[in-house]
Structures are given as structure tokens and as C-alpha cells.
């Protein structure tokens, strides 16, 4: 399987064509999608038209952009004109957005070819895609196991060689966790680096769009295209996209990297071993490894499960049957709204709407939501203090390798604990990525997590590249 960097180079040079790359993608999808349930919708005609357009522009001598002819999979919570967009929920049944998410505009402008929409946990709430209304996706490395979530479909698309790139969204680990479980690079950028316009909100203050890829360089390539100020998103950072690809091989010599106890304590032994091995590899490459403890991080899971549901309870109010999506007929409008929401939302979404509604209610706000905001401030300050001592942090991405279907569905808390290492950076708004490093049980991949202060993506990619090389992927 060619990297995106290679595909774009081949398409630009004429060694390949966008059409040929797309047909290869479509044939793998045709071969494996039924088994893996990766794509909810494949836009064959639209993708062929987009590929033909790229090839025509190249024939015309135009500069097509850094993603020339690269097929790319899109998580189904990103709006694309005319393409069914479901968030893996029955409540959005039949809805086709009349507008493009900013990231769609940007990848298309860069020459990429969107091929379809990938499965996710309903409204991005979950860690396995088992909460999808359209059935779970399977982990291509072991179809009896989950691909992780919520961006499980986007991870599986790349892991199964359907595409070399995909887009996911990460609210509490929804890119990094499936990347770890599927043996991929997955990046949660600095909050505000990538425009959220057109990303269907789960928890607005935590959501960020980011890339999946097999190689570090490919994620850097895609993130460069995604990043940069967007006037349509008030929380978008003011600056233009940073230079990332150029820094991928900068190395870690002289970098101070903190090995954070709270970011791997309690993980399976194979995972802890992998994290320690990663620390050794980074030291080998010239970094100074510092053992750190950030006790505040132990509070973050509780805070997250108040803040994210609170925002979600408001963000998901609009699915009321009045304007679009599912409508269940009833005697009056209030009954119609109730019946629609009862039928349209799955159990986990309902659970979080109720949690969030409760956390914001009069008389409970201070004890729950207000308290969680204080923990969030503590977390931000704790990370800021850590970054006074070190340049980057290192930990695990997940407590274990990919788990079996049904292993955690009976107990929501067990499922929530899957995100214990990824959630802290979402609360802080800082960037983090997961990069595959060694394998664990049954030869399944393990992801280690690199975290940095705001806008440190270039440094994160450089450190991830060091681990990629050390893990035998030069």
C-alpha cells in the first residue's frame, strides 16, 4: 500500500493517475467493506468525477496541490454537500447537508478525492463503534475485535488499505484510541488549529478534527492542509497553517520529554512495556527523559464525563423532528419531539443527554458542571507547569490492545475508562498523537501517546518519526 505522499507524487508526475488510485481504493472497498462495515456510504460517482477533475487539471498543467489524487475516507460526522450524513444515528435519517465542512473544502482544494463516509459511534459517543445505529466496524487486523472509536470506521479504512488517509474527530480520544487499536498514526491537533465548521458537534469545547495515516509523514501532510484560520469558526486560531512536513525528520536531540506516570499507570503490562521502550528509544535518539507525575490528571475522566455530556445535551437538542431528519408522527409538536428523540437516539446518546441535562440543571450546576470547569482549569494549569520543565510528554494511548466485541458494552464505566489517557489533552486544548510502537497480545499493535503544549505539532511529529524508525518503519 502506497503512502499518501507517494500517491500524490505519482499522480503529479504522471506515474499514476487519480482515476487509477481511486479504482484501486474502490476495489478494496468492494472486497472488504461488507465484512468490516467501514463505509456507511461510498460516493462512487462523486469520487470518480473528483478524480477525473484532478487528472484533467494535471493534464492541463495546473498545480493540483499536495494531496493530488489521494483517495480519502471521511468520518460520517463531517458535512459534505449532497452526501448522506448520519453521525451513525437514525435521527439524521435522510439528511443531506447543503454545505461543505471547511475541511472538505480544503482537502478537495488540495487535490484529495473524498470516497465516502465512515462509521462511528453514534454522535461520536463511544470507544468501539458498537454504539453505531448501523452496526459496529471490525478491526481489520482481527475482525473479532473492535477497531476502537468513535472514529473506528476511519481507522479501519486506512488499516484495511482502502485508503491511505482518513479524517476523524477527537473529543476525548476518538482519533488516538482507534489509531492505537488499528496500528495507525492518529493526531488530535491543538484546539482551534483545524476549523470545526461542518463538524457535527458532540462537545464543542473539546472536538477537534484530525488525520489518520499509516505513516507520520502522511499525517503531517494532511494536517498541513486541514490547519489554518477559518473565519467561519469563532474558536479558530488566528494564524495560517504551520509548516509540519518540513520538520518531520527534525529528531529529538536535546528535547526534554516527560514520562508521565498517570498516563500509563493501570495499563496492561504489554502497554507499559511499550511505553518504557518508547522512552528508551527517544533517549537513544538524544532526548532527555524526565519521570513526571501530574496528579491532577486523575480528576480528568470525571470532569470530562460532566463537561462533554453537558455540551452534548445542548448540541443535540436541535434533533427534534421539526426541520430535518427523522420525524415520528404524534398528536402535537411536543409529543412529536419526544417520540422522534425516543426513536432516533440510541442508548448511549440518551444516557449522555440525561447526564448532561442533569449536570446543568438548577441546583446541580455548581456541584457538577461548575466543579468540572474548575478541574478543567486545574488540568490546564498542571499541563502548563509540566511544559515549563519539559518539551513533550510521553504516555500510553490506551490501557490495552484492541478488545473483543461485547467485552465492555455491559458496563459503561469500563468503556469510559478506555479514554482515561487521552481525555486530559482534550480538556487542556493541547495537541497529542498516537504512534504505533511494538506489539502486544496476539501480535496486536500498541500505540504510545506523545503530548505537547499548544501549537507544538511539528515537534510531536518529529518525535513520532523517531519512534516510527525505531519500530522498524524507516
Amino acid at each position: 500500500m502506497k503512502s499518501a505522499t507517494q500517491i500524490a507524487a505519482d499522480v503529479r508526475s504522471g506515474a499514476s493517475s487519480a482515476a487509477a488510485e481511486l479504482e484501486r481504493t474502490l476495489s478494496v472497498i468492494a472486497e472488504r467493506n461488507e465484512e468490516l462495515n467501514v463505509f456507511l456510504h461510498v460516493d462512487i460517482d462523486g469520487a470518480r468525477a473528483a478524480a477525473a477533475d484532478v487528472d484533467a487539471r494535471i493534464a492541463n498543467g495546473d498545480n493540483v496541490g499536495p494531496l493530488a489524487g489521494v483517495p480519502i475516507a471521511i468520518k460520517d460526522n463531517l458535512c459534505q454537500v449532497g452526501i448522506p450524513t448520519t453521525c451513525s444515528s437514525k435521527i439524521l435519517e435522510g439528511w443531506r447537508p447543503p454545505y461543505n465542512a471547511t475541511v472538505i473544502e480544503r482537502i478537495v482544494a488540495a487535490g484529495a478525492v473524498p470516497v465516502g463516509k465512515t462509521n462511528l459511534d453514534e454522535f461520536a459517543m463511544g470507544s468501539s463503534t458498537e454504539n453505531s445505529a448501523f452496526g459496529p466496524s471490525r478491526n481489520p487486523l482481527d475482525p473479532t475485535r473492535v477497531p476502537g472509536g468513535s472514529s473506528g470506521g476511519s481507522a479501519a479504512a486506512v488499516a484495511s488499505n482502502m485508503t491511505s488517509l482518513s479524517l476523524g474527530s477527537d473529543t476525548g480520544g476518538s482519533i488516538r484510541q482507534p489509531a492505537a487499536l488499528c496500528g495507525l498514526v492518529g493526531v488530535k491537533p491543538t484546539y482551534g488549529l483545524v476549523s470545526r465548521y461542518g463538524l457535527i458537534a458532540f462537545a464543542s469545547s473539546l472536538d477537534q478534527i484530525g488525520p489518520f495515516s499509516k505513516t507520520v509523514a502522511d499525517s503531517a501532510l494532511l494536517l498541513e492542509v486541514l490547519a489554518g484560520h477559518d473565519p467561519k469558526d469563532s474558536t479558530s486560531l488566528p494564524e495560517a497553517s504551520p509548516s509540519l512536513v518540513a520538520h518531520v525528520n527534525d529528531g529529538v536531540a536535546g528535547q526534554r520529554i516527560g514520562l508521565v506516570r498517570e498516563l500509563f499507570d493501570g495499563a496492561d503490562e504489554s502497554v507499559v512495556t511499550a511505553v518504557r521502550a518508547a522512552a528508551a528509544a527517544l533517549r537513544e535518539a538524544g532526548a532527555k527523559i524526565v519521570d513526571l507525575s501530574i496528579p491532577e490528571l486523575e480528576l480528568t475522566l470525571s470532569a470530562y464525563y460532566l463537561i462533554a455530556p453537558a455540551e452534548a445535551s445542548s448540541n443535540l437538542a436541535r434533533y427534534d423532528g421539526v426541520r430535518y431528519g427523522l420525524r415520528v408522527k404524534a398528536d402535537d409538536v411536543t409529543a412529536m419531539m419526544e417520540a422522534t428523540r425516543t426513536a432516533g437516539f440510541g442508548a448511549e446518546v440518551k444516557r449522555r443527554i440525561m447526564l448532561g441535562t442533569y449536570a446543568l440543571s438548577a441546583g446541580y450546576y455548581d456541584a457538577y458542571y461548575g466543579q468540572a470547569l474548575k478541574v478543567r482549569t486545574l488540568t490546564i494549569n498542571a499541563f502548563a507547569r509540566a511544559y515549563e520543565q519539559v518539551d513533550l510528554l510521553l504516555g500510553a494511548t490506551t490501557p490495552s490492545v484492541a478488545f473483543k466485541f461485547g467485552a465492555k458494552t455491559a458496563d459503561p464505566m469500563a468503556m469510559y475508562l478506555n479514554d482515561v489517557f487521552t481525555i486530559p489533552t482534550n480538556l487542556a486544548g493541547d495537541p497529542a498523537l498516537s504512534v504505533p510502537f511494538t506489539t502486544g497480545e496476539e501480535g496486536l499493535p500498541i500505540g504510545v501517546q506523545l503530548l505537547g503544549p499548544g501549537r507544538s505539532e511539528a515537534r510531536l511529529f518529529a518525535a513520532a518519526r523517531v519512534l516510527e524508525i525505531a519500530d522498524g518503519r524507516p
Binding site: Y197, S234, T334
Partner: protein, 475 residues
């Protein structure tokens, strides 16, 4: 209607005003009243999944102008979400300012010298408009409902007064003065009939000197008359209830204009819990000093100041003249009065002509230059035109522009020569010796008789003052 002795009403008003911005509060859609339903809409104001709000700078300008006119403190502010389900609200939450409004504190001085404190003037978005068809005609029980989202996302400022108002008349005066201020700031067109301004009144009563009573809120009053009547009714209702040994329940009430009554809409206990929280899609709003200075510099004078400046031009103004000044200020036409005062030093006639003739044809004042107005009023002041002629000339200029001198000439409104007037008066004296004798003996009423006769003979071309001067010269 007044309250029984010993009772006092306590009223605070919440006034919603739509802002005259070109676009909506959080998107680029046109902010326009009266368009075809659901034509001024986009993914953002329709609350489509994935859309995000971006604050309109012009709306902030207008909100600050309102705050400055009300002597408020402009402070860093935030936007919250007010969560409740309603079909005319596209996101099922309203974006509104909550604990940190852009304008806090301030006051409004009324023409009668009283002062009403302002608690806050904050920004929020308007909702769409539902039409319920068949059945009960209200949301619950209608056969079907239609929603027009053109108004959804239109910027509003809500101005909350302190509980300082003590009569329904004062409430009306406050609302009228506030309307004048909103028009003067350019923030609102003040068109109550189009819903540009809407009033909620918080009303309670107490015996003099006692603490505040339990209040009721009357929602959605949309005219000054309804406002005054509803408050009057509600205060009396509460007094009668209390005097009969009852208690006032805290509740929201609806005013029925036809019945002239308020009725219970919902009681406080089952009021919604709006679950306010900071909108994570928006950032803090903190206009810097330079921005505030720019807005302040562009602020026009407020009605109170303008009223004072016009009144100062009048010598011992009568009540009728003060009422006329009110009309002049309300219509924003005082430049005509000032121009006449500058030219002749006497603004009395100008106030009357603006408050009557110009007010009657206000849609056409653009046709009337201040120069033309001054020329017409001066002709009348000098006796070259009678009052009737002056009104005719003004009417003509308002209708189609043109030069007042030329219009007067074309109408044959040439000044009667002194000779013609003299000979006309002389012939009338000869024809009415008895009346002339009584006038000479001091019966001033007879002056009107002679003026009337002169007007008849000259077909209105004579000037009344000139006739009196002529009569007195011959007395």
C-alpha cells in the same frame, strides 16, 4: 383609573429591540422584515448540524451605542445558551448574554425630571415565527404549524430597567423616551407595529412604605397603549386581590387587548429550567478602548438634549408648544426649527409648521430643504403669506419639491400691496360704520370681523397681522 389611597405600584420594564443591522447576529443572512417566509436563511441561522455562529460586529456597535446612551458601563461580556425546546427556535437553544452582559448599570432621565435606573442592556438572538393553523390556534392543539425562520437570529438588545417606575403613565413615558433614544442611536427603527420593540412588564403593588410585593410579569406587549393599560389593569387586580385577603402568585401573565384583561400564562413553579451555560462556540467579547471611542464619537445627540435645545429657542413656551416640540423631536425634524431660529430668531412658528404640516406628510420631507422651509416661514412671519397660503406652499414643496417663492407667485399669493390693503380696509369701514364704531370704542372682537371681511374680499391673500396693523393705524 388610579390605585386606592395608600397603595403604590412598583414596575420594572424589559424592552426587547431588534437592531437595524444589515445582517443577522451570527450569520450573513439579510436582516429584513417582510421578506417571503424562509428566504433569509442559511445553515447557521437554521441551526443545521455542524454550523457555527460568528458574532456580527455591527450588532456590537449598536449594542454599545444603546449602552452609551443609557449611561451604562461597557464591560467584557460572554454569550450563554438558554436551553428550551420550541419549534421556532432552530437550535432548541437561544444564544443570549447572561451573567456578563455587554452593558450594565445606567439610567434614563424622563422629561418630567424622574430618573429610571437601568440594570443591564444585553445582546441576544431573536427566534423564528410560528403560525398555528386550525384547532386552538395556539401551539398546543393546533392542526398544524408553520414556521418562518427569517427572524431567527435577528439581533436583539434587551434593556432591563430597575423597579423604579411608580405609575402606568410613567411606564409609558419611559417606553416612549427609550424608543426615542433607540431611534436616535440608529439601533432601531422603533416600529412597534412590526415588532421592532416589544415590552414585558414586571408589576407588583405595596402599601406605601412597605417592602416590595410579589410580582407578576406581563409578556409581549407591543404598543405603548397596551403597555399602559395592561399595567393599570394588573396593578388594580393585585390591589383588589390583596384587599380581599388573597395573595399574589408569582406568575407570567398574558394581556388580552380586546378583553382589556391579563390572564395566567404559567405559574413560576413550573417555569422552565433553562440550563444556562457559556456557549463554547463563541469567544469572549471585549471591545477595546479604541473601538468604544469610535462608537462614542459617532453617537448622535439624544432626545433629551435635542428637546432642551429646541425648547430653549421658545419664549415662555405654552403646553401646546411643548407638545409640538415633542412631535418635532420624535420625528427628528428639529433641523428645520434650528434653521428658522438662526435666520429670524423666532422658532415658535417653525415648531408649529413642523409639528403640523411636516408631520402630516413626513414621508416626503426629503423634498423640503431647510432653505425652502426657512424661506416659507420667513414669508409668513413677514406677512407676505397668510397662514393658509404658507401651509399651501409647504404642502406643494413637500409633494413635489420646487422653490417656495416661485410656488407662491404661481398661485397668485403675491403680497397684497399696502395700497390695496389700505383701500380695501377703507371701503370696509365705510360699509360697516356700526362695527367700526364699536371697534374704535375698544371691542377687540370686531378685529376678527374685519379680518374675515378682508380675507373674503382678497380671497385669503391678506395677512391677518397686516390687517390689524392697518385697522389700528385708522382707529
Amino acid at each position: 383609573m388610579t390605585l386606592p389611597d395608600d397603595w403604590e405600584m412598583v414596575v420594572g420594564l424589559e424592552v426587547h429591540t431588534e437592531l437595524l443591522t444589515k445582517s443577522k447576529l451570527f450569520c450573513g443572512c439579510q436582516n429584513h422584515f417582510g421578506s417571503e417566509p424562509n428566504t433569509n436563511i442559511c445553515p447557521v441561522c437554521l441551526g443545521l448540524p455542524g454550523s457555527l455562529p460568528v458574532l456580527n460586529r455591527e450588532a456590537v456597535d449598536f449594542a454599545m451605542r444603546i449602552g452609551m446612551a443609557l449611561h451604562s458601563t461597557i464591560a467584557p461580556s460572554t454569550f450563554h445558551r438558554k436551553n428550551y425546546f420550541y419549534p421556532d427556535q432552530s437550535k432548541d437553544y437561544q444564544i443570549s448574554q447572561y451573567d456578563l452582559p455587554i452593558n450594565s448599570g445606567g439610567y434614563l432621565d424622563l422629561p418630567d425630571g424622574s430618573r429610571v435606573s437601568i440594570e443591564r442592556a444585553h445582546m441576544e438572538e431573536d427566534t423564528g415565527k410560528s403560525t398555528h393553523l386550525g384547532g386552538s390556534g395556539r401551539l398546543a392543539g393546533a392542526d398544524s404549524s408553520l414556521v418562518d425562520y427569517n427572524r431567527c437570529g435577528v439581533p436583539l438588545v434587551e434593556i432591563v430597567s430597575g423597579p423604579d417606575i411608580r405609575s402606568s403613565a410613567q411606564a409609558r413615558t419611559y417606553a416612549a423616551e427609550l424608543r426615542g433614544i433607540l431611534i436616535a442611536t440608529g439601533a432601531s427603527d422603533g416600529r412597534l407595529e412590526e415588532g421592532s420593540m416589544r415590552f414585558d412588564a414586571n408589576v407588583s403593588v405595596r402599601r406605601s412604605g412597605q417592602p416590595f410585593g410579589t410580582r407578576c410579569e406581563i409578556k409581549n406587549l407591543n404598543s405603548l397603549r397596551s403597555l399602559q393599560r395592561a399595567i393599570e389593569y394588573e396593578a388594580l387586580r393585585q390591589v383588589e386581590l390583596l384587599e380581599g385577603g388573597g395573595v399574589v402568585r408569582q406568575e407570567t401573565r398574558h394581556w388580552d387587548e380586546n378583553l382589556g384583561e391579563t390572564s395566567t400564562l404559567r405559574v413560576k413553579e413550573d417555569a422552565d429550567d433553562y440550563r444556562y451555560f457559556r456557549d463554547p462556540d463563541l469567544v469572549d467579547l471585549a471591545p477595546d478602548q479604541a473601538w468604544q471611542d469610535r462608537v462614542r464619537a459617532a453617537l448622535s445627540p439624544m432626545p433629551a438634549q435635542r428637546r432642551g435645545e429646541v425648547v430653549a429657542l421658545l419664549r415662555e413656551p405654552s403646553d401646546a408648544q411643548l407638545d409640538a416640540v415633542e412631535v418635532v423631536i420624535d420625528l427628528g425634524l428639529e433641523k428645520y426649527v434650528h434653521a428658522v431660529a438662526d435666520a429670524s430668531g423666532d422658532a415658535g412658528l417653525a415648531v408649529a409648521r413642523v409639528a403640523n404640516e411636516l408631520a402630516a406628510d413626513v414621508d416626503h420631507v426629503a423634498n423640503l430643504s431647510t432653505e425652502s422651509f426657512v424661506a416659507t416661514v420667513l414669508m409668513e412671519q413677514r406677512g407676505e403669506l397668510s397662514a393658509t397660503q404658507a401651509k399651501t406652499v409647504l404642502g406643494e414643496v413637500l409633494a413635489s419639491g420646487g422653490d417656495p417663492h416661485a410656488i407662491a407667485a404661481s398661485k397668485g399669493f403675491e403680497q397684497l400691496s399696502a395700497d390695496t390693503l389700505g383701500s380695501t380696509v377703507a371701503s370696509l369701514i365705510d360699509a360697516h360704520p356700526d362695527e367700526w364704531q364699536r371697534y374704535r370704542e375698544g371691542d377687540e372682537k370686531l378685529a376678527q370681523f374685519f379680518i374675515g371681511q378682508v380675507m373674503k374680499l382678497t380671497r385669503g391673500q391678506a395677512n391677518g397681522k397686516a390687517v390689524i396693523a392697518e385697522l389700528q393705524a385708522r382707529r
